[in-house]
Point group: C2
Chain length 513, copies 2
């Protein structure tokens, strides 16, 4: 039975309600997402929230409650961050929200907030060691993790709104203003000795980070619509900062990709990133589209422990994708098993030297080859490519996502070439051979289970009788699959430059593991 629940994040800049649906296996899908820009930071003076801020917040919470009630959702997780935490009348606000709307808001401590950012990252990225930084309106959280385990964390009591107010007194900041902000940040970061010279990636969370990614993607006409796991090198971040710092507010608003209601505070935000990259000696900043509420969510679903390896993240992602798009799982798992069996046996026979990385891509692609059917059984391969290249498959880089999408949807060279041509900034012509070869393995494996009944339970390559032959151990004679194998086998033979025929073998023993 599916259950819905809401997560409310009462931030210093924005209040956001996200509605999730959790299926019977516990996997969660976002089904609605609404935000209101309250800019509470502006209503906190000298550690006190003014009455207007309080009224705005209560009104907003009441509206969120209405929306949840309209959907009959009673299960609500609500948290508040810096603006409330830093207000001496924060608990009064929480009491009033509770009385007037029935929503019980938990005020997060800075360390909690930092930990949720870290959790969001290790649950959705293929990075074992890194520094996370989440800049909000009124606070900034940093953590350091290695082996996916949290090593240290800290919350600074400044954010983009407060830094802008403290340091920038005109639209175009002067060199002095910029350098005094940088000096301030350097001192702040020094209070966390574990940040210094880590030389690991910095993972940036939050609206400023997303906006930075958008600006860079627009500038280079990036071919994928995805911010999560998007890398910028240190020079790119410095370049954007320099470019923006010379513009007036109105000019900044016209920069392609910039979020208009963030143009006034983005400079402070990017300065924080740039300073941290230098301080930590990091080669790159990687944007995370997952943050606080995803960390909270992962705690609800997976508990407080981080996944022990990227493999766990991949398995969960793939599983969620399969559930979400109603894949026939016994079929998908069987196709994956057959594809990997072919891959391994071809290796044994010396026909390739691919490694674990390619094997993992093949496994993911085989498990997900049918997702496009949820859109339509016609042109399902095109739909599979669309879904896998447009919907986040957490835990993979953009390049890996595209390779999986191309292998999973592989049908012909013509289609593959048009896919490659669209993404020359992410994949290269040299990937063509890999995709083609693995794609043919999936195509053959799909045909080996065309009836989706796992009637052919095992395949074995043999050269006992001379030429390489694929023995198909099936439950009985005359299977539909055998009538359909000639074409995919001929195509695979051509792509792999490997003459291969098949022979049915009746074998009614249970499937081999």
């Amino acid at each position: 039975m599916n259950r819905n629940f809401g997560v409310i994040d009462l931030g210093s800049n924005t209040a956001r309600l996200v509605v999730y649906e959790q299926d019977s296996q516990g996997l969660v899908t976002e089904v609605d997402n609404i935000k209101r820009g309250l800019r509470l930071s502006n209503h906190v003076q000298d550690g006190h929230m003014d009455e207007e801020g309080i009224t705005k917040t209560i009104d907003c919470m009441r509206q969120f409650k209405d929306l949840l009630e309209a959907r009959n959702i009673k299960d609500i997780i609500a948290v508040a961050t810096a603006a409330v935490r830093q207000s001496d009348n924060g608990s009064e606000l929480i009491d009033r929200i509770s009385k007037e709307t029935g929503i019980s808001v938990r005020v997060l401590g800075g360390e909690d907030e930092a930990r949720y950012g870290y959790l969001a990252v290790v649950n959705s990225m293929s990075i074992d060691e890194g520094i996370t930084i989440d800049i909000g309106g009124g606070s900034t959280e940093v953590t350091f993790f290695s082996n996916r385990e949290l090593q240290a964390s800290h919350s600074f009591p400044f954010g983009i709104v407060s830094l802008t107010r403290m340091f920038f007194h005109s639209e175009v900041p002067t060199a002095e203003e910029l350098s005094s902000l940088e000096h301030f940040l350097s001192t702040a970061f020094s209070s966390c000795p574990w940040l210094l010279s880590r030389h690991c990636p910095v993972i940036a969370i939050g609206g400023t980070a997303r906006n930075l990614a958008k600006i860079q993607q627009r500038a280079v006409q990036y071919s994928m619509d995805s911010f999560h796991h998007y890398p910028l090198d240190t020079e790119q971040v410095a370049g954007i900062l320099e470019q923006l710092s010379l513009l007036s507010l109105e000019e900044r608003r016209q920069v392609p990709g910039i979020s208009k209601d963030r143009a006034d505070v983005i400079l402070a935000g990017i300065t924080v990133f740039e300073s941290l990259l230098r301080h930590a000696g990091s080669p790159e900043l990687i944007v995370s589209n997952k943050g606080l509420r995803d960390g909270i969510l992962s705690e609800v679903v997976w508990g407080t422990a981080a996944p022990t390896s990227i493999r766990v993240v991949h398995e969960r992602s793939i599983d969620q994708f399969m559930n979400r798009y109603q894949v026939n799982k016994p079929h998908a798992i069987h196709v994956s098993k057959l594809s990997l069996s072919l891959f391994d046996q071809l290796q044994t026979f010396g026909h390739h030297t691919y490694g674990q990385g390619e094997r993992d891509l093949l496994e993911a692609a085989a498990l997900l080859h049918d997702v496009g059917r949820t859109i339509n059984v016609h042109e399902a391969s095109e739909h599979t490519f669309y879904l896998l290249s447009h919907v986040l498959l957490a835990g993979y880089t953009h390049r890996e996502r595209l390779l999986i999408a191309m292998i999973a949807s592989f049908k012909s060279n013509k289609l593959l070439q048009s896919q490659l041509a669209k993404h020359t900034d992410i994949v290269s012509k040299t990937d063509k051979s890999l995709v083609e070869k693995l794609g043919h393995l999936v195509l053959l494996a799909r045909m080996l289970d065309r009836s989706m009944s796992q009637a052919i339970h095992t395949i074995r390559l043999t050269d006992d009788d001379g030429p390489l032959t694929l023995l198909c151990l099936g439950k009985r004679d005359g299977l539909l699959e055998y009538s359909l194998l000639d074409e995919p086998l001929a195509k695979l033979s051509k792509a792999w430059k490997l003459p291969l025929s098949f022979r049915p073998v009746v074998d009614d023993s249970p499937a081999k593991p």
Copy 2:
């Protein structure tokens, strides 16, 4: 409760099994589709099917049965056409299929076959009067309908395989061979006086028609992936015929878009189309991707009567799309109601002169604006455009489908411009204003029901107090919607060049119709 059933079409060229899923409302979705090229025509000599043809058929039926059993589907509708109908031992074959597989196959008479083609067309196209032609391997069915009612039908005992065998004796047909085929066809068509000089569109059903569309689309690099409702004018058909008739079989196989296993018989097929177009004095041939089995299916779902108007077809299509992609129906219907109310009131106030056609597009777009959410709540507009431009919405032309897709997914001019730029062969720059204006109506209507609770039940335009104001009659004060209306209203005002503000009115009376 959903139920699955299979439809088997044992044709003269191809045997095909399609698996459908019918939802609790009776709407049907194709979930699997498998074909085997049996070319039974080649096994019928002098009205008798040889033993190899019989064995192949029974094997194929057994495999189809296996596939259905693997999915636990007991409900099977199976029909056979010309090859079996024209064989004196057809009933023996049917008996053996029944005994050996349990599948009971109905042999369709030519008139039945023709009627199913007609039913498929009137259930999926916006054409009130036309001639249908369905060319199979061993027979050709024609009908004439007007006011969507069947007026006449006929089945000719020749198809692409038999015509090729009868008239073409070398790879490149001679001028004499072509002209004697044309003479033969002209005589045949004359036996149906109701075909002569109808001047209505010819709707072409079947593999040859789809292949013709594909060749033309590849030649002009058509921007949509859709054969259904694709028009070719008489000169284009004649041009392709002339081009192909000069090529050897091997050269024909290389023509972009041609189906390799049809290259040997396609010339006869296109000659039939071209002759019929001339005979009927028709301006164009419109390809139908719906045929025999869709006709059978529509009879199962909607009964033997044809829909009385295109409006009925549209309603069913939209309803099916909404069900298929799990749209929140009360919300979609409310957004549609509010959009149309705005449209009508703006007309009353003299702000546009659009007609019923544009109103219908707006209604469809408003009902379908949320389909993309089934893919993902993020970038849902892009997904809505993808679905509506890639998945068949039956009963609409390609142009109408694109306009609906653009209105439904409208978010910004930037997105719209990129959509228009991709489809300049189907929509034009002059459509931009229409899409933008109607798009803003849908955007505002969506925000008016952002909580999806229909809290704002009625809207009224008034200029009683001077400037035009939108009165929003809502269940109570302080609705979430009111906090969110400023932006869409400002954008609408700009696009319509019409300063418009809103005023909440508490009105707890039931929604007005």
